[in-house]
């Protein structure tokens, strides 16, 4: 008993950022209840402060060896801290760009974003299926509500679709986990028992359980075949939230997939070819995402499919099952955060100032809103994976890890996904550049005097664009940091 209390007490010390976020939820709630004047600004500042403070707390944590918390329910390590920084940055940016909410709903808006960030932070630390389910559901349930924040029919429909789809995915995942539990006798997927019992087991049930569990994670990162919700939800949701959805829950899902596939692969001793499975999912996501994006007329739907494809690219890094590959995925994740937010912020600015929702209606906006249009171009070039942006570096690293993996193992699958990935980079050029094409080449159709976006508002996008250039020129700083991260399962 005493030992347990001691363990809980000591574990708490490692959870300071999460505890801060949780208390921020409560504080936001109370402030929202009792303050009526300037509520939005006040809540926004509280949120921004909390994310910044949590970032500092995470950065201050020095972890030499992974620390197991709460009887190995959670684990604090470099890997999770890296992702936590990304989540907190994502939360910060989202709140920063959020427009004024209706007085009635602004409290919930901030609380729900905080809840998603908290859930994501817990998810990357989870070492136990129970904890995984709890964190994923914390993310999911809050996301379902957030996606309804347009408060119109379309938004409600998107929210409900998201919810229903998510419920089914969760059901699959929990079923898969229960199968794995029945085979391994433990919920702790990092434990010796899990490894030992699964090594002895080569029944198809192991495969079914693993894939069903993966299904829940694939839903979070909107990878094929669980990507179908994405376009509808993205289309119906307010743009800042879309930017948030496309990054924070997705990276959280990516992190847990990394951990889970490393565990289920049993150090390559598994009777099933998990490399093949992940490779096929990645290749399908890239293909389906890019091909479907080709004909889209709505920028948000287009970006939804693009984010499906991006998930595929990030999965490619895991496919080689090498430490190097995973490091490259983490690099990609950071770049993805920057470029995705850049595109969405610029899109949000142009959309709300210009009032257009379809790509052809963006014709001529490049001349009116020069800076947002240019920064968005940078973001889209980065998403395509062209120099001189960090998007190119990230894709290059991923492909190089794939090639290295192929040369080492001679596995044809790796070659196959390598080719698919390269081809699709070409295809993606067509749709990513569709928006700039209309913005800069086509003539504007209506008068736009008096419409402009102030420099202060443009500052953020400019900073993000500079960051993308900087990481292209000097990726070594970030890479050195990432390279210090080791995984011990």
């Amino acid at each position: 008993m005493n030992d347990q209390l001691q363990d809980i007490y000591q574990s708490m010390q490692w959870l300071m950022p999460e505890l801060l976020l949780t208390s921020a939820i409560l504080i936001t709630l109370f402030v929202g209840l009792f303050v009526t004047k300037n509520k939005h600004i006040l809540l926004k500042s509280i949120s921004l402060f909390v994310y910044a403070a949590a970032l500092v707390l995470v950065a201050l944590q020095e972890i030499d060896n992974p620390v197991s918390l709460f009887g190995n329910m959670l684990r604090a390590d470099d890997f999770s801290n890296y992702f936590k920084i990304l989540f907190l940055t994502g939360g910060f940016l989202t709140v920063w760009i959020s427009q004024e909410q209706k007085e009635k709903n602004s409290t919930e808006y901030f609380i729900l974003i905080q809840a998603v960030v908290t859930g994501s932070c817990l998810l990357v630390m989870s070492m136990n299926f129970i904890m995984v389910v709890l964190s994923i559901e914390l993310i999911s349930l809050s996301s379902y509500m957030l996606s309804g924040f347009g408060f119109d029919k379309k938004s409600a429909e998107g929210s409900l679709k998201y919810f229903l789809f998510g419920t089914v995915a969760t059901a699959c995942m929990i079923y898969g986990m229960s199968l794995l539990y029945s085979l391994s006798g433990t919920l702790d997927y990092s434990s010796e028992t899990f490894l030992k019992n699964l090594l002895e087991n080569t029944t198809p049930l192991l495969l079914v359980g693993g894939i069903l569990t993966l299904a829940g994670f694939l839903f979070k990162i909107s990878a094929v075949p669980f990507h179908l919700w994405a376009p509808d939800v993205y289309e119906a949701t307010p743009t800042p939230i879309v930017a948030f959805f496309a990054v924070v829950p997705k990276l959280a899902g990516l992190a847990i997939i990394t951990r889970f596939t490393l565990a289920i692969n049993l150090f390559g001793q598994s009777g099933f070819n998990w490399q093949l499975i992940i490779a096929v999912i990645a290749a399908m996501s890239i293909l389906v995402g890019n091909l479907s994006a080709l004909a889209q007329q709505n920028p948000k739907r287009l970006l939804a499919f693009s984010s499906v494809a991006q998930s595929g690219f990030m999965l490619l890094g895991i496919v080689s099952f090498s430490t190097e590959g995973i490091h490259f995925t983490m690099f990609y994740a950071a770049v993805f955060l920057l470029m995705n937010f850049l595109v969405f912020i610029a899109l949000n600015q142009i959309e709300s100032a210009w009032g257009a929702h379809l790509i052809p209606a963006f014709a001529g906006t490049g001349k009116i809103f020069l800076i947002p249009a240019l920064t968005m171009l940078v973001g889209l070039i980065a998403l395509t994976g062209l120099p001189p942006t960090a998007g190119f570096t990230a894709k290059l690293l991923i492909f190089s890890s794939l090639w290295a993996g192929y040369e080492q193992s001679g596995s044809l699958i790796l070659l196959f996904v390598f080719i698919v990935g390269l081809l699709n980079t070409v295809i993606s050029l067509f749709f990513y550049l569709k928006i700039p094409y209309y913005q800069f080449i086509k003539e504007k159709k209506r008068d736009a005097t008096g419409l402009r976006i102030s420099f202060a508002e443009n500052l953020l996008t400019i900073l993000l664009a500079i960051a993308l250039f900087y990481l292209f020129l000097h990726p070594d700083g970030l890479m050195r940091w990432i390279n210090r991260i080791s995984f011990v399962l």
Partner: protein, 643 residues
Amino acid sequence: MTHEEIPSALIWLALAVPGLPLISSLVCFLISKKFNWTIPLLSSILLIAATACSTILFFQLHNQSVIQSWPWLAIQNKIIHAGFLLDSISLSMSLAVAWVSMLVHFFSIGYMAEDRAPDRYFGMLGFFTFAMLGLVMSSNLLITFFFWELVGFSSYRLIGHWYEKPAAANASTKAFLINRIGDLGFLIALMILWNWFGHLDINNFNFSAVPTEILTAAGLCIFIAVIGKSAQFPLLHWLPDAMEGPTPVSALIHAATMVAAGVFLLVRISPLFTESALLVISGIGAFTAVIGAVGALFQYDIKKILAYSTISQLGFMVMAIGAGAAQGGYLHLLHHAFFKAGLFLGAGAIIHALHQATHHSKNNYDVQDIRNMGGLRKKLPVTFITFLIFGAALAGLPFTSGFISKEIILSQMSLWAGTDVSGKWVIMIAAWAVTFLTPIYIFKLIWFVFFKESKQETELQDIPVIMKMPLIILSILSLALLLPTFDFHFFSTVNVILNYFPEASISITIISLAVISFALIFSYLHYRKSTPGKLSSFLSPQYYLDIVSDKAVFLLSILYTITNWIDKHIIDQIIHLFTYLQVTIAHLAGWTDRVFIDGAVNGAAYSAKGIGAVARIMINGKIQSYLLWAMAALLIFILWILY
């Protein structure tokens, strides 16, 4: 208790007992709409076969206790078995279930003759029978739990059979949601047991090895499940609402079998219950029995009266089991199954006849309100006589089955309560109060329906023979003439005689007869003159209970709305699978056409767009098809990796 294996010839028989109703259910659902008229016949024939199997099994195995189980799945080295545990308890219960179900099937042929969806009705009836028999015969608590859920499901479907009536739809929701609360208790109990024993085989628990507090906790959790399923306080109000379903369904599920499953479960694992748990059980049972009986007094809807009476009687059994009269309680459960099913079918016959009459004369009034009835004695003679017998059994008059079980309960309970005044006397007093109240409300019912002057002048047609026959059979089964020989199979002969005449029995019999006659005289005097006024409903305790529970139900109904949506839009949409498949194939064909015939000309960009089109068919804005695609892809994926 040691258990032998079932002789191999009998295994097939045992499988046939729940198997035939399942086949009946499948036949009903699969048969073409053109042949809908054959459904009542086919399912009745299959039920006759099932009943025959169950009867043979009963006489072949009487006084034996046999078990046959197969390993079903293994978690590590812990094996979960699925199988049959056939002893006097499960055999007699399955016999009762099969018989009542068969008779209800017969009755339904007449009652549901004009229904639009006989496939759904008889299909679910068969499915319910399968689930109920499975519940009764299972040897493993986990399997019992599965069937427990399935009977709940079929009850939900059958209450909502006329789902176009809002009241029926709401009632089915209410029943379903409230039962979930109880099921939670069951699950927790299963977890506790699994944690302590590592298995859930009913015959293999060694309760003496477990601390009393744990047993009490597990027992109370099981009892929560019983409270939900058997409509005990405080989860009792779903049962009166469930009367929105077709009357034969009420007879089968909400009087004779499913609601009795709770009581059955108490008997099935009776060693689990510690003394303190039993005290709680008897207390809640007694309270339910009294408020059920009082509730019945205040009602004027014929089915609602019977529903409250069922609550009261179930409370009576639960109380008896808690108060050391388990054998009596169980015997009462079996007897109650027959006479209460009879009462409900009788009510069904009355409603059917009146409904036909009002339908033809266009003179519309509430055909379930007993104040609108009267003088039916001459018009429905068979119903009248059988109803009298059932009513007498319910009231516990001599020469009926109800009398025997009630005497056993009362005398066993008086031994349990002892001669010193203690808290147990409160429960004993409740038992007597129920003995006093029961004749009053059933007298009221019979008086209003059959004796009073009729206010409505309608030409009544007598009910068809197919509906009379079940009434007659049930009334014979409710008489004490046959039952002793039937009962001998439950307990060993000596036991039965001892139980019929325990020490206190003679005086108890005299007192109970006095109480019942006093009640009858009282009610005769009271109802002879009184004109039925509308008693202000806030006098009844039910009124307040419903207010509280309506609040709870409201919260749960939000959840329900969503699940219902899934049910309607997804389950039903599976049928559309084929349509979607066809569309896909068509698109693929079109795609091949474009790519391989025109494609060579049009080049790579075109084909990329073509593939995109195929990928985008999936995104058509309908969530049900999204889910379908996602699941199909997952399945194909798994199969592809496997083979």
